[in-house]
């Protein structure tokens, strides 16, 4: 029972992070949330007995993917500041 | 165990590595790799001809644990077409890309694309197809962007994103199949799949993903801008080969391992989408203002024809009737491969000479580029489906089967498509001959013009006259892996 509760909390947090990442308009915030989502996903996968994949997701999916997106988000944010419009 | 199957994937890959490592010698190395890859495909075709369907397991593990490659007569024919078109594109590219740096960037990506094409035609494993599709999508998008320009970049980016969406949808289908059957090998799955909610949903997802990549109506919206803005040799590859392999995979799944899952209604739906594609694509081609855009819209139509066969083949038991229809389908696919590649190569030639490819301003092209205009005409004959082209025989058999099976309504899109194709081809030729033609030299630039001309001749005369050989290849064959 406690295990099920633990699972439910894991999943609820995961879905919340996903929704937050998908709905935030500000690019840097969205990417940060995406990285958090990826790291949380790695945690969930470790719980599911997949440590290999969890490591890869944390390092590649969240880490490098996030770093790539952050660079793009910084550009987008600069442009938004310049134009003042929505990006 | 036949080494030609893995080699057909490995040799283009090896070429891609060599051209990446030594960009200064990319052209020589690339041509060697292209010749070697074609040679291996020839070996494979001879093997299939003599021994019937071939299968090679990889890594010393047989299915279900390992991955296998499989080639039957249909795959051998498609691989052979791919090799011939790819060889022509390889030679043409040397004349097309004037900037040596562009050529250096073209070669490794192009050989990776070729490896992906061969890998997908030979694939016999659901997940392996996913990896192949991603290789195809990424190298294709990168190649399509080689033109530079904002339009090309925008179209390529959209192509990349659509491709990603397609492969994720496909992968979701693979996950469902793995959930239900715990297998990925297509031959083994063929014995387990059956009617039911799970398998049907999985097939729908797999088909959706592949239809996006094949540009089946109404998922074709991304194709015209991508194909029209890419460099001509790349457009030729995308139109003639890349769309073809996705369509082939879709058809192969429906008629092969998933045959027990499909229902007549679903097959009719697929045929209907094909019919819409034929009419919509042909209509838009007629209205197109640019030569390459015309060719791109016509590709949407030509992909559509292939799906008209699904409702006709779906209910048939293995036998001569089914083999004949499969042969006709294949003949359409091959003819279009040759003809569309030839058309794009010729269109690229026109564009380079005239500086544009607006159809209204094509006047006098025939005068200056007789061989190219002849290529456009020949390719046009094959696109319309006039005798003796391969698509004439293909359409004929399609019409015959539609009447025999009492599904006469499939005649309508074929007739409409043929008439529209005649209209758009003659529109181009009429413009090209606008001024009095007084050709000085038939061929003005051998390396750039000859490959397209040879492909067009193959589409019209080669396939039409050599269709008997194709049947010989198909004879012992059913789509079955």
């Amino acid at each position: 029972m406690t295990l099920l509760l633990f699972d439910l909390v894991l999943i609820a947090t995961l879905l919340t992070l996903a929704v937050a990442a998908l709905t935030s308009v500000e690019p840097r915030r969205a990417v940060m949330l995406f990285i958090a989502f990826g790291l949380w996903l790695a945690l969930v996968w470790a719980r599911l007995g997949a440590p290999d994949v969890a490591l890869a997701e944390a390092a590649i999916g969240a880490g490098l993917g996030g770093a790539l997106m952050l660079a793009a988000a910084r550009r987008a944010a600069r442009r938004r500041q310049r134009t003042g419009g929505e990006g | 165990m036949n080494a030609s199957l893995p080699l057909a994937v490995c040799l283009p890959l090896l070429g891609a590595l060599a051209t990446t490592l030594a960009p200064a010698r990319a052209r020589a190395l690339g041509l060697i790799a292209a010749l070697a890859s074609s040679g291996v495909v020839l070996w494979l075709v001879v093997g299939v001809w003599e021994q019937g369907p071939l299968r090679a397991s990889l890594g010393g593990w047989s299915a279900p644990l390992g991955i296998a490659l499989a080639a039957d007569g249909a795959v051998a024919a498609l691989l052979a077409m791919t090799a011939m078109v790819a060889l022509a594109i390889s030679i043409h590219a040397g004349g097309y890309f004037r900037d040596p740096e562009r050529l250096r960037q073209f070669w490794p990506l192009w050989l990776l694309l070729w490896a992906a094409l061969n890998a997908l035609f030979l694939a016999a494993d659901l997940f392996n197809i996913y990896v192949g599709l991603e290789l195809l999508g990424l190298s294709g998008a990168a190649l399509a962007a080689l033109g530079g320009g904002r339009a090309a970049l925008t179209a390529s980016l959209r192509y990349l994103l659509v491709g990603l969406l397609g492969s994720m949808t496909y992968l979701l289908g693979v996950a469902l199949i793995y959930a239900a059957h715990g297998q990925l090998d297509l031959a083994l799955l063929g014995t387990r799949l059956g009617p039911g909610l799970v398998d049907a949903t999985a097939l729908a997802l797999l088909s959706l993903g592949l239809a996006l990549k094949a540009a089946l109506f109404p998922l074709h919206f991304w194709l015209p801008p991508t194909h029209a803005n890419a460099p001509a040799p790349v457009s030729a590859a995308l139109s003639a080969l890349v769309g073809k392999v996705a369509a082939w995979l879709l058809l192969m799944l429906w008629l092969g391992p998933f045959a027990a899952v499909t229902q007549p209604a679903a097959a009719t739906l697929l045929g209907l989408l094909g019919a819409c594609g034929v009419i919509w694509g042909s209509w838009r081609a007629l209205r197109a203002e640019r030569l390459k855009l015309l060719a791109a819209h016509s590709t949407v139509a030509q992909i559509g024809y292939l799906f008209l066969f699904v409702p006709l083949i779906q209910g048939l038991d293995p036998g001569p009737e089914r083999t004949a229809l499969l042969g006709a389908l294949l003949l359409m696919a091959l003819t279009h491969g040759f003809a569309k590649a030839a058309f794009f190569l010729a269109a690229g030639q026109v564009q380079q000479l005239a500086g544009h490819d607006r159809i209204d301003a094509l006047g006098g092209t025939a005068q200056r580029l007789p061989a190219t205009t002849f290529t456009l005409g020949l390719a046009g004959v094959a696109l319309i489906g006039l005798p003796p082209s391969g698509s004439f025989i293909g359409k004929w058999l399609l019409l015959e089967a539609a009447i025999d099976q009492g599904q006469w309504w499939w005649i309508l899109p074929v007739l409409a498509g043929t008439l529209l194709a005649a209209a758009y081809v003659f529109r181009v030729l009429a413009r090209a001959f606008n001024q009095e033609p007084t050709p000085l030299h038939f061929v003005t630039q051998v390396r750039a013009e000859l490959p397209g001309l040879v492909l067009a001749l193959l589409a019209v005369a080669g396939l039409g006259l050599a269709a008997g050989g194709l049947w010989g290849l198909l004879e012992p064959v059913e789509i079955d892996r």
């Binding site: 790539l68 | 891609a16 990446t20 490592l21 990889l58 192949g132 290789l135 990424l138 959930a179």
Partner: protein, 221 residues
């Protein structure tokens, strides 16, 4: 996309989600037992590695991994063909540089450890390579425009190393009449480690180069 269309998409997506959940429940209820797991564990001793995931990636389904490394190469070649990289950030302050000076070796060491350990315990070429790539990212953030990567020709060599090692081993065993990538049992462990080593370097270099985001200096000039 306007309001009604958005709502329609949301409704359709929700309906799709419901359908898929139902399908998933149906599929799991009729779960067949002969999944690939048993076969994968049973054949593990023949591969010479103790980590089943590494065995799948580099032995049973090594061909998938070969194509996947080709995808990585295609992405890098595509990025290179799109022109020069964006300018790097300005040089970092001394505090950051001092941190970089120990973070980068640590990342590289951990990457190497993951590669070595991946044969037996969780880890392997991808995780190790990712850490090498991360080291590159840290270096570029600290102001090195090349992210610690070598010159153009060496970069090209690193980029093709993974696919190259795979093909070298695969085609060599093919020449001896075996299947492609069918390692002789006695050699299996070492061949896998060699391929993994090459793949780690290739993945690390490719990811770092992708982060740089443009062709290496010296090309085409």
């Amino acid at each position: 996309m306007n309001g009604p269309a958005r709502l329609l998409v949301a409704l359709l997506a929700a309906a799709l989600g419901g359908l898929l959940l139902w399908v998933l429940a149906t599929a799991l209820a009729a779960r067949p037992e002969p999944a690939l797991a048993e076969a994968a564990f049973a054949a593990l001793p023949l591969t010479g590695v103790g980590n089943p995931v590494t065995a799948v990636l580099l032995d049973y389904r090594a061909y998938d991994t070969l194509l996947e490394l080709a995808v990585l190469l295609a992405a890098l070649l595509g990025i290179w063909s799109l022109g020069p990289p964006a300018p790097a950030y300005q040089r970092a302050g001394s505090a950051l540089r001092a941190m970089v000076a120990w973070v980068v070796p640590l990342l590289i060491l951990t990457g190497g450890y993951l590669l070595w350990a991946g044969g037996q315990v969780p880890g392997g070429a991808f995780q190790g390579g990712a850490l090498l790539g991360a080291a590159g990212v840290v270096l570029r953030l600290a102001g090195d425009p090349r992210a610690g990567l070598p010159g153009e020709s060496l970069q090209r060599l690193l980029a093709v190393l993974g696919v190259g090692a795979f093909l070298l081993v695969g085609l060599t065993v093919l020449a001896f009449g075996r299947d492609l990538l069918d390692y002789p049992t006695d050699w299996s462990k070492w061949l896998i480690l060699a391929i993994e080593g090459a793949a780690t370097l290739a993945i690390g270099a490719t990811l770092a180069a992708a982060y740089v985001g443009g062709r290496p200096p010296g090309e085409g000039r």
